[in-house]
Amino acid sequence: MLRLESVSYRYAGAERASLRDIDLRLEYGEVLGVVGASEAGKTTLCLVASGLAPRAIRGTLTGRLLIDGIDVAGQRMHELTALVGVCFQDPATQLSGVNATVFEEVAFGPMNLGLPVEEVVERTTDSLAALRIGHLSERDPARLSGGQMQLVAIGGLLAMRPAHLVLDEPTAQLDPAGTSLVADALARLASGGSSILIAEQKTDLLARICDRVVALDHGGLRLSGQSRAVLADPSLQALGVEEPSIVRLRRLASEAGEDPARLEEEAP
């Protein structure tokens, strides 16, 4: 279980805190969605939850990040990789850029951990299989489509066998084909029992994969609850978050005096 306890974070040089007094829990086997307007603190939350802030990004953290009940404040980044893996928007900068094949790119993390060759190979093969990208093994990562690159980046994380995954808008820069490629893979991971914290603008995707959703606004937690309830919350739009398509259609139908149940069958 990953837990943020009264967490605030202020970037070095910033006047205001980007996160304020956040309490958040990610249980094992749970997919937790994070929504919020631009600059609401989604990326900062991902940085803090993954341990990158303040380890790789300078700033001041108050409150605690607990993983399996243990405060990880004293641990270095490479010690956290087995606990939490993190992936960002831009597929190109997620890849190391030094590996000639997808296989080696996915193996890069386990290699860094100094694991025995047999284990590196096993983890890499498993991770490629979990995302169904084994057929890309021999390809040059730099010559893949955006969606494929993002899958390779996620594959590289899975090979670290992290107990939790943190994903910051993993489909934001992908075209429709790339988005559905990544969304399908995430849906499989989610139903396979992975623990995932995912920040997203695309609420249709969240509606498909999340158990719970929280909404951020100006660095603070505004809504928190079951995915269905939060994504249908009337205050969502005021927070700068788009409703899922089906929620919007249902609302518009009721407003027009029509029976929203007629639309229901199409719900994801």
Partner: protein, 279 residues
């Protein structure tokens, strides 16, 4: 050169279960030489060409250490194109400056208006040209026959810090991305009416809107990349696992030391004045 790692004299793979496509060195015997051997050959060729001077020395080096191996590796055509492109700007300016303005040139070849081309200038220019060609040829041959990953892996196996090796390799491999970014930026600013097709002053004024986003973008990208690397355990101290390493052999080790020894001898001989100037 740090040599702390266990010598691996056999080619990859280190394990029978590894996919066979890893570490494919390339089509020829020269490609399959250890990256360090090729690197030493390139460096010794370049330095020796400078130390030897004259025309004959660099020309012989060019033939033996660059042209023949390149032909053997089947990259002679690409080598000619790339190394000529690399050296052409310097070569032309060196030729023009020395041909016409070589101090103390007496033997006049021809005159264009007030400037005079001298034979001494021509010879000196040719000497410079020979060195430039040997240097660029040696480096290009190395570049064309060695994958950056093979070099990095080999250096890492020999105990060079993986971070250092990574920085070296990443800086080479991000060049295409940099170029792509810069060209998008140029396009974006031209779309906003920046006239890059005008005179010198106009072009200079147009540099800020192009250079600033390139720099800011690079900084942001480096930051993102370093976070992604940290998240994958790259900053963990201690040895990394290597899946494969380029083959090395005792013969190659001996050859490298011989090359370095010969170069050292050459430098000593030249600085002691034992070896007279070659033609």
């Amino acid at each position: 050169m740090a040599r702390s790692g266990q010598p691996i004299s056999e080619a990859a793979p280190l394990s029978g279960r590894l996919p066979t496509f890893l570490g494919n060195p390339g089509p020829s015997a020269f490609h399959r030489l250890n990256p360090l051997t090729k690197l030493v050959l390139a460096t010794v060729t370049a330095v020796a060409a400078v130390v030897l001077g004259g025309i004959v020395g660099p020309a012989v080096l060019l033939l033996i250490a660059v042209a023949i191996p390149a032909a053997g590796a089947g990259v002679l055509g690409r080598l000619l194109r790339t190394s000529l492109l690399l050296s052409l700007p310097i070569a032309i300016s060196a030729l023009l400056v020395n041909l016409f303005f070589f101090p103390g040139g007496r033997d006049v070849l021809f005159q264009i208006g007030p400037i005079t081309a001298t034979r001494e200038g021509l010879v000196f220019a040719l000497e410079i040209l020979a060195r430039i060609l040997a240097i660029s040829g040696g480096i290009t041959l190395f570049y064309l026959t060695t994958s950056p990953q093979a070099l990095v892996t080999d250096l890492e196996r020999r105990g060079v810090s993986p971070r250092l090796a990574f920085v070296a390799s990443a800086s080479v491999q991000t060049v295409p991305a940099m170029v792509e970014r810069a060209s998008t930026i140029v396009a974006a600013q031209r779309a906003r009416g920046l006239d890059t097709e005008g005179g010198v002053v106009r072009r200079l004024r147009g540099l800020v809107p192009i250079v600033a986003p390139v720099i800011m973008g690079s900084i942001a990208e480096v930051e993102e990349r370093s976070m992604a690397l940290e998240a994958r355990g790259f900053t963990r101290p201690g040895r990394r696992t290597l899946l494969w390493a380029p083959a090395d052999t005792p013969v190659q080790r001996l050859a490298r030391w011989l090359l370095i020894f010969c170069l050292a001898g050459l430098i000593v001989a030249r600085s002691a004045g034992v070896l007279g100037p070659l033609p």
